[in-house]
């Protein structure tokens, strides 16, 4: 009744091509944006920022990045944790001023970057590293590529543990985000306001999502999908597999790097590579896009929300409301998350995004389905 194209006339090509062609959808999108930008910052507190919203926004960026690679371009990757680590360490180095040594002497030191550009540089560096580790994808596919990216994961974690230049020679091997501000408002460090960190992450999430959405709708996205569906056929119709695959790796790694940089600098503030960016992180983000839906930007958000919220909600229900022992709840959590993943794969292999799509189709016909 409300959710339909009828009566909504496009008079220009731009209108015809817009992301949300249905008026109801478009307004819903504006309402969500409005609430996220103008309502939540006024009611947010430390607990909501650090337990729900920041991890959700940051994982959503990582999930969008991985979804471009796995969902749109069909290149399986298990290196997400390692690429997030590249973003985090690059961000740290640019925040504190990159120092270049040669033969035991300090050649020069870059000035300290502003936090905004540090995060961007985290993304840029990760894109370069991603392209490097994407090169094998030109020769190998499927499981073999997964193993190559797995090697990237282990190599990168080892590198950041081993080479003390990356953590500025600190004795503990940890990196700590120093206090940095943007126009006088603190973004990193312990004294930050929850609304400031939230808005900072929200900005990156919205920009990344809009870029990703438009890229996947445009020429490059179509090339990626052609490669995903059948690479030989794609080559025959004129898609350059080298460029398509490497751009997918670059764009995907750029987003993952941004999320790693935010994860370290804004969300946690101090990071140890083996613990924060281990193989579990790769799997977690992969689960997010599998549960959320491969090849869908909305699915990346849904999957991130699902896997970030579920453990915390289970804990609140189990420990705070029912008063169960914490270890029983922690064990239940593993069982329930595992069970839900299996259930999703059996009942809805296309993830939460498919449920959303089905709901929209139904809504179009509602209330007269025949």
């Amino acid at each position: 009744m409300f959710y339909r194209e009828a009566g909504d006339f496009s008079t220009t090509y731009a209108q015809d091509n817009q992301t949300f062609p249905i008026k109801f959808d478009r307004y819903r999108y504006y309402v969500v944006l409005f609430i996220a930008i103008f309502v939540i910052p006024f009611i947010i507190n430390d607990y909501w920022a650090n337990s729900f919203l920041l991890p959700f926004l940051i994982y959503a960026i990582a999930a969008i990045g991985l979804n471009i690679l796995v969902g749109y371009c069909g290149q399986v990757s298990l290196g997400t944790g390692g690429f997030m680590a590249v973003g985090a360490y690059a961000c740290y180095k640019f925040m504190t001023g990159v120092d270049i040594w040669w033969g035991g002497e300090l050649l020069f030191r870059l000035p300290q970057f502003n936090i905004f550009f540090s995060v961007i540089m985290g993304g840029v560096m990760t894109a370069l590293v991603g392209v490097l580790f994407g090169l094998p994808s030109l020769r190998i596919k499927g499981f073999y590529l997964a193993v190559a990216t797995l090697a990237a994961q282990f190599f990168l974690v080892w590198l950041f543990n081993r080479v003390s230049w990356f953590y500025n020679y600190s004795a503990s091997g940890q990196i700590n985000a120093p206090e940095r501000d943007l126009a006088g408002i603190l973004i990193t460090g312990p004294q930050t306001e929850p609304w400031a960190t939230y808005l900072f992450c929200l900005f990156f999430t919205i920009v990344c999502a809009v870029i990703a959405r438009n890229m996947t709708r445009g020429a490059s996205g179509r090339k990626w999908m052609a490669i995903r569906d059948m690479d030989i056929a794609a080559e025959i119709i004129g898609v350059n597999p080298l460029r398509a695959k490497l751009t997918a790796f670059a764009v995907s790694s750029f987003f993952i790097g941004i999320s790693g940089a935010l994860f370290f600098s804004v969300y946690l503030g101090a990071v140890e590579v083996g613990e924060a960016f281990g193989i579990q992180k790769s799997f977690l983000v992969l689960f997010m896009i599998i549960i959320g839906g491969l090849g869908s930007i909305f699915g990346s958000f849904a999957g991130a929300a699902f896997l970030v919220l579920l453990p915390v909600v289970l804990k609140i229900v189990g420990v705070d409301m029912l008063g169960w022992p914490t270890d029983i709840v922690a064990h239940f959590q593993l069982v329930i998350v595992g069970g839900l993943i299996v259930m999703f794969l059996i009942l809805e292999p296309h993830g939460l995004a498919q449920l959303w799509r089905v709901a929209k189709e139904k809504l179009r016909l509602w209330p007269f389905p025949h």
Binding site: P41, F42, I43, I44, N45, D46, Y47, W48, N50, S51, P55, N161, S170, A171, S172, G173, Q174, N176, P178, E179, G189, P190, Q191, E193, P194, W195, L268, G269, A270, V271, E272, G274, E275, A276, G278, V312, K315, I316, V319, D320, M321, P325, T326, D327, V329, A330, H331, L334
Partner: protein, 427 residues
Amino acid sequence: MKYKLGTMAVAGLMAASPVMADLVFPSLSYRTGPYAAGGIPFADGYADYFTLLNERDGGIGGVMTRVLECETAYNTEKGVECYEATKGEGALVYQPLSTGITYQLIPKATADDIPIHSMGYGRTSAANGDVFSHVFNYPANYWNGASAAINHILETNGGDINGKKIALVYHNSAYGKEPIRTLEELSKKHGFELVTLAVDHPGQEQKSQWLQIRRERPDNVIMYGWGVMNQVAIQEAANIRFPMENFIGIWWSGAEIDVTSAGDAANGYKALALTAVGNDFPLFDDIQKYVVDAGKAAGAGDQIGTVPYNRGIYAAMLAQLAVEKAQEIHGVADITSGMMRDGMEALSVTEARMAELGLPSFGPAFDVSCANHGGEGMVAVTQWDASAGQFVKIADFAPTDMDVIGPLIAEDSAAYAAENNIEGNCG
């Protein structure tokens, strides 16, 4: 404290428990995951001690205590979530029992005016209270541990270890990397050769490290391990027939559960200790009477008297003494976290007070001051007796090499102060 942009729409969700005067002690425990073997007994001991205080004495100074347990699984993200979830409930002091989580919480808790007690873990240079106003790591820290291990090796070698080879097997994290600087300094001082071998999280795979030990033939091995890594290392040492009396672990690698799986082969393994061993103290009778027999024991109640359980008891006892001190200083019974910090900074643990609490000679006597948040750094040595199935204290609490540790603490804390623009707190 922090300024809020808007009202807390959902504060009600977290403040669901009734508002009444109580002393809240969050316990960021880990009863799951690869480090649960150490996390469970510590959390049990911590909770049981406060249960005992409530049941026997009616709390501390007439105010009931409440332990808020939150499962972290030794994971920093969950630790931060736990911190945010519990700090609003009037948390007095955090004891995260994880170096990684401690690093996360140091700046956050300082900003929120809540003290952290990282007892024998965390950031070693936090012993400098002039820089770390809200972090305490008494009675001893990692560098005291490294020095104590070297002192013990010196003692067994008649005071000369020049030219010896000592290997450090460490957990490849901030925790395990902490002692390397100190050991390097000590190797210069005493002339031994240091070999470092990292073991990655969680530590189940150590074949290559022990193969290297077999090849390098070090005279002594020092271990900084935790959780499942300890059991694997001791088993591997037994497999290559490394003499156990030359194998010495930090206090986190010295629990019964770490050695029992290797059976008789682990006999003679040494570990440093922060507290006395066993349950032969008057306090344990009270725990049996008021806590266990009343059915109020935390967890399965089967850990009483083990090394990590005793450490939990000890941590809780130090918290109790600090609360009493804070109540005395500020003249109020229901103290806040800021007052708790003052109490911790003025803490004085005496032999007489410990005996009064039913724990005579349970730990070293020490004083805390504004400049020194680390205590005197007294460490004991224990040895595993496999036939009796218990650790035996073979060397009493002894001082460590503060000539080496002091400058290192000053250097590291000065770097932190410069990074974070901290001016001295002690004036």
